[in-house]
């Protein structure tokens, strides 16, 4: 692991979210200073701020990019109970051939009366749709019928998923599936839910139930990329990362799942899959970010630990977590007749 670049954001307050665009060339940051900043990647890996503006009247919790097939569009949600839609526009400079780009607010969505905790654009093959979740457990879906006119958003669905705060949502992005969304909330009785859209009734209903021991702070649905199963990861208050393996229709949980990835020593706040859905990253109150990957036998091992502590402490943690590092070690049988690497072929 190498530290490539240190980006000084100059936000006046805590950064709550960083979102990278579809191409990995731009990032958007949002903060408690009520500002959004957009950064562009230049040559030699440098990042430069291209735009900055005051976007809300409260702390901005989340920021997301729409798929570029809908143009350059960002959505942000805030403590001020609103969701704003921003579109990048080019304006020609007078008497010059060049244009200058700026971010214009196209719409403000303010249906709820609570802090909007999370927003996520739906997979692009469903059109330009946005899901919002607030701290009262209400989920709302919006659609922009004309992608050339982002000032118009119609609310298509509204339903209560929890009586308590929704912390996070994640769409199933694979094509060929019906619209499905995983929801994490503070409801201890039902902190993890999958909701699916039933075409016949045109309604969202709760799908497969995933029993979870504690509050789920974050959930992420992995990109499927040709696999015949789905993976969903959760970050939990109990300090554990869990990985759920579901069948192709997301109706059944695979045997021996959820897999519990132990190692963090504090509340886990976030989990996120990489773009191929093969490596999972998790961050926790123990000040570490851990990377997890499955081995050939389907067991999830800690691939890497990124820490803010000094190296000695990391090695100490590593020793303590040794049992969790499932490395193929041939200590037992010198004759190799029963090797750790057992492969089963069909």
């Amino acid at each position: 692991m190498k530290l490539l670049f240190q980006l000084q954001t100059s936000h006046d307050s805590l950064i709550h979210d960083v979102s990278i665009d579809f191409y990995g060339k731009r990032i958007a940051t949002c903060s408690s200073d009520q500002k959004i900043k957009v950064w562009e990647k230049k040559s030699q890996g440098r990042w430069v701020c291209s735009s900055e503006w005051k976007a809300h009247n409260g702390s901005i919790w989340k920021i997301v990019w729409a798929h570029p097939q809908f143009g350059q569009c960002i959505a942000s949600c805030s403590f001020d109970q609103t969701v704003c839609i921003w579109e990048e526009q080019d304006e020609p400079i007078q008497d010059q051939k060049n244009t200058v780009s700026y971010w214009a607010k196209k719409a403000t969505i303010s249906d709820g009366q609570m802090s909007i905790q999370d927003i996520k654009f739906a997979p692009s093959h469903f059109g330009l749709k946005l899901a919002t979740a607030d701290s009262s457990g209400m989920l709302r879906m919006y659609e922009a019928p004309d992608i050339m006119d982002l000032s118009r958003w119609a609310q298509t669905h509204e339903f209560q998923v929890s009586k308590l705060c929704v912390n996070s949502m994640s769409w199933n992005i694979s094509r060929g599936s019906i619209p499905m969304i995983a929801i994490a909330s503070n409801d201890r009785l039902n902190p993890l839910q999958i909701w699916e859209f039933i075409e016949t009734s045109r309604k969202w209903t709760e799908g497969l139930k995933l029993a979870h021991d504690d509050i789920v702070n974050h959930v992420d649905w992995a990109p499927q990329i040709g696999r015949s199963f789905h993976l969903i990861a959760t970050a939990s208050k109990d300090g554990k990362v869990r990985i759920w393996k579901l069948d192709e229709s997301a109706k059944k949980i695979a045997p021996n799942y959820p897999f519990v990835c132990e190692g963090h020593t504090g509340e886990v706040w976030k989990v996120e899959w990489n773009i191929t859905g093969t490596i999972l990253a998790s961050s926790a109150d123990d000040g570490t970010v851990r990377l997890w990957r499955a081995d050939i036998d389907g067991k999830w091992n800690c691939l890497s630990i990124i820490s803010t502590e000094n190296k000695e402490k990391v090695f100490q943690n590593q020793k303590e977590n040794n049992e969790n590092l499932q490395l193929n070690d041939n200590r037992d049988d010198q004759n190799n007749s029963n090797d750790n690497l057992q492969i089963e072929f069909k």
Partner: protein, 659 residues
Amino acid sequence: MQIENNQEKKQKQFATEIIPKIHSQNLNFCWGIGNELFLFGGSTSAFYCPKKQRKEINSQENNIYILSWDTTNNESISKFLSQTHSIFVKLQMKQNQLSNTDTLEASQGYRIALQNLKQNLIKQLDESNEDFQLNLDLANSVNPKAFKDEIESEAKLVDIMERVFHLCENFFLLHSKYPSFSFVRWFQLNFTDQLEIESIDTESIKWNKICRSIIHGKFENAINLLAKFPPNQTIQNTQKILQEFPELKYQTHLTIYRKQFQNWRKKCDKIYNSNEEIKQNPNLSAIYKILLGDENEINQRTDSWIERFASKLLFIYPNLEIQSFGSKAKECFTEKEKKERINDLDQIYLDILSLNTSRALLRIYSQIGNTWLSAHLSDLLFHIDSIQKDVLPTLGTDIREFFVLEFCQTLLSNPSRMPILVDYLISCQKMGKMLLSEIVQRQNIDDEFIYKKLLNICQNNQLDLEYKTICQIYGMKSFSSHKFPSGINALLEAEKIEIVNSGINRFFKKIVSEEIPLYQIQLVIESLESDKQNQTSKKVLFLKHYKELCEYFQENQMDKAGRLILEIMKKEIAPKMFWLTLIWDAIVIMEEEEKKIEQEQFQKNSIFNHDSIMFFLTKVKEITSSHQANEYTQYISKDQLQVIRFNLIRALPIRIGLK
């Protein structure tokens, strides 16, 4: 060569220290594309952050740290990847017609590339010692010593990779019918040096070197070393027996060889038993014992199982069958070695010798952690049917595809690797194609050249959906940059007619609000005319008329302009957003007409009669009372609207009686 303990290696490789002042309790992150991670401190719990806390926040805590584990950024490695990529592609192209020569060439090509890489890395290391300079703007945690360590470590790894490749090449490709020969040759090339007797060597060291040469099967070397001793009959006989050793060569018939070996062994035995000098000389005795396959002697004189096994293949079981290689190799471990942990690399060699290539590859992947080696070796073995081709249930794909895809992951983070990446992904069936579709879409379309290139890739790989997505992305991008013709073309290609219609509306808004050169309108017309399904025919018609109208105005042909305005409004060709603008233009023409009316020249040929004025008034009312009135009236000012109303009402009585 020992691979360092895997755990420690991983700790050193992956444990990274971030600048300590980041708020460790709220370490947050997001993934970049490929193997990039963006780390930042901040509240991960979405609660309101009190003002007090805000003031206390150190500015450094609002930094974002971008990490990556892209190891392919090194220049030497880049060259290496390009070289081996060509070999890989060639193998795939010849897939169904691969001969042994082709696969052997490929294997040798890979090994040459590995050797070149090692030399380049060493050269890089030497150069860096003189003048260390990084290409990237790295943070404080990277320093020259770390760079040096990394290069040295890479060079060692390359050595290992080359040996593993060489063993497989010898065993499966080059001398597959002669496994003993394969292994001995491999051993000789990778583990032995040419020994020379130095003037400072003691007697025992000299004899030791001779014994070692014989154990390693380097008989020429042993003969030359013996020649350094004072010549006598015994020495000469020994040299002769070494010369006569029936070395198994490529294409020697095994039955013939077996007989030759037996005859030679008998001769050797006869010399040993009949010559007292040999029996009494411990050094000569040792030599003959080795030649006669004395296991104890061989074990005493060898340091490692590989050395032991090679010697036994030479002197004890030269015709060993390939199926027995694994078990015989394991027998070469001493009791002490068996008690200690067998290192990862030895495990890999043993797996290869046991013909368990899948397990060897799995070890390479998990113990060495090098995805290049596992990908290319599995691909090579796949082509010669020396690897399992079944689907792994835990992964949903076969072992070769799994490793190639894992290798592709390492290429992901570097955008310059895209052309290479595409070829590797194409070689994989289902999952490769899915990943390819994802990667292709994530290429930033900076210009038309890249756009066309991506479309080409999609067409060549039957990625129809991705083709349309890329067209749509380019179309939207063009629209936002006001490049309407290319935007329309791209969206028509994407078959997104509803977006095209919206885009044209955007163009209309531009026309109605600013002066657009006529050639731009013509370009848009041409783009729309390429719509074979004619779904935008009405809009095309309006644009044509509008262009015509602009030309009439430019040429001061007001009567024609007036007639055209009436036509496009009466036939409802003009969109509503243009109505007021067109009516305004009509009023200008009317004023001209009125001058002619005063001059009594226009009575017979008036364009705008009473009915026309009433028509315009109706349209004004329709627009201003519509629920979208604001939208349609935004292109003219309130004053202009008043002027329109006033002039129309004023013109009514003037036009009474005009036909």
